[in-house]
């Protein structure tokens, strides 16, 4: 029964492949692209310049669909421009952590031995250190800026990508064609780039997406504490101001509901995309 079931799973997997994107995947993709568009086209989409001051604490009306904040800035415009901070930090941190993680995982999984031990040791240690408190401490000392936050997160999150890349690299290392190439005398770097790397993209993509999600939540958390970049509008900062400058106690719920919902939806969309990719990866694994 076992090998029949295995073959069955392969066939089952084959059936799912044509169904490229699941329902939740569509939802995720829709939200994700909307937010990306929002970030890219902020100047076009926003009704006003988010820094321009009108009358403060205005409730929502036709002129200001989400009212104005304590400085009189239009909240809707803030919201739209705020997507940029999330996108920059999210993608920046994710790109960096994925790059470092992939490199580390490749070296670790391919060369094994001492390099593997050291890198894995570092990974374990990094995984244990609480990340948001660390970022808080560092951000408190340094002048807050978006790039700094992205950089810090990138330096902290490479670990889980490294783990996953490493196990895949270990697998691929033992396959026939890699062995063949090694015996033919190709340099390790060449093999890693041409043989191993293309095969790990399936594994790296979902991790990339999920790190975008983590980075966005972290950025929102940091900005909420007031450590965000004062030169940019960010959703977390909006909630921070709403909380600390009378938005909450005065019942101006639209001030913080809007950015909060945006954070949640953006993260949700990334998570849905990421888990959909992960599922496809495990399905296609069974295919092989």
């Amino acid at each position: 029964m076992t090998d029949f079931c295995e073959r069955l799973n392969e066939w089952k997997g084959n059936r799912l492949m044509p169904m490229i994107i699941s329902k939740s995947g569509w939802l995720g993709l829709a939200f994700f692209s909307s937010f990306l568009l929002m970030a890219a086209l902020s100047p076009v989409l926003a009704p006003y310049d988010p820094w321009y001051r009108f009358e403060p604490y205005l409730p929502p009306d036709e002129l200001h669909l989400l009212g104005t904040n304590d400085l009189g800035q239009d909240i809707l415009s803030e919201l739209i421009f705020g997507s940029r901070a999330s996108v920059i930090v999210g993608f920046g941190a994710a790109l960096m952590s994925t790059a470092i993680g992939t490199a580390a995982g490749l070296v670790s999984g391919y060369f094994r031995g001492m390099a593997d031990e050291i890198i894995m040791g570092i990974t374990d240690i990094f995984l244990m250190i609480p990340q948001i408190p660390l970022i808080i401490v560092l951000a408190a000392f340094l002048r807050p800026s978006l790039w700094l936050v992205a950089l810090l997160m990138g330096c902290l999150w490479w670990t889980s990508t490294a783990r996953v890349v490493r196990s895949k690299a270990l697998q691929i290392r033992e396959t026939g064609y890699v062995q063949a190439n090694r015996s033919l005398g190709f340099s390790s770097l060449h093999i890693m780039l041409s043989d191993v790397l293309p095969n790990i993209t399936h594994v790296v993509m979902p991790k990339f997406l999920l790190s975008i999600a983590s980075a966005m939540i972290a950025e929102a958390s940091i900005s909420f504490l007031g450590l965000g970049d004062p030169t940019m509008k960010s959703w977390g900062m909006m909630i921070n101001f709403a909380f600390s400058r009378g938005g909450f106690l005065n019942g101006l719920w639209w001030w913080y509901m809007a950015p909060g919902l945006c954070i949640t939806l953006f993260v949700l969309s990334v998570v849905l995309l990421g888990s959909m990719l992960e599922e496809r990866e495990s399905v296609s694994l069974r295919l092989q």
């Binding site: 250190i129 609480p130 808080i136 408190a140 504490l225 909630i239 719920w253 998570v271």
Partner: protein, 314 residues
Amino acid sequence: MSLTGRKAARYFIAIFLIITFNFAIPRSMPGDPLTNLLGEDVILSDSSVQELRSKMGLDKPLWQQYIEYWQSILRLDLGYSFHLHKPVSILLQDRMKWTLLLAGPALILGSALGAILGARAGWRSGSRREKVHTGILLAVYCTPPYFLSLISLYLFSFQLGLFPLKGLYSTGSAADIAHHLLLPAVMMTLFTLSRNYMIMRGSVLQEKSSLYAAFARAKGLYDEQILFRHIFRNALLPIITLLALDFGFILSGALFIEIVFSMNGMGSLIYDALLSRDYPVLQGSFLIITIMVVSANLLADLLYSRLDPRVKWE
């Protein structure tokens, strides 16, 4: 080095690194190390600045400062907060117990519920009810904990007036404290639950297709008997370490929830320290939090090695 030896080394190295980091940061960040050590909210006369400088050992060579720093750590002296006029360790002690009161039970309850519900969800994956539950908890998972707290604070305290708006207690009685703690505890539980649920669900989904589950079914086990007699244990083991690693994130979440509910725990302490750039408090808190997280990992590792017979019997 044996496996346990290597693992133990990792814990020590982690703590060692953090302490070194705590030492290095104020001395390497831009600005006058003295300010970095004292905090920015401190006004001093010139003479006291000199005094403090030598008292803090800033005129001694770096390696000597390092050793003295270690010595003070081992004496549990984490510095002095000029902003709040108390030694940092006292401050942390005071606040820590409130944080633990809030986070402790919520963590345990949230983990247990999350594991059981998540296991059920993985087992019944695909059913309509499961999809709804998972959808809701996924939304919770993606929401920053402080935002969820803000919403609930607004709804239940502000609008409906069911719960107090801030603080840990008004009258100090046990019932009163419970009343104040309820909403934040619920938030904390939900937060932990959502994370454990997702992880457990994934693990059960993987174990579901295993051969031993099929054999259990062939022996006549029915539905959830298979889940709780077999799959649950097997799914739980690999994720214990995952859950422990998540502990750091959950603890950070607890801090944020405290801030939103204006509770007198570590969260508010850190928040105030941030506003006034009270570096000693920040660093001390960071150290304590890290030690807690590392200990949690250590505990999880020990727990795992006791629970998994394959490791125990090696």
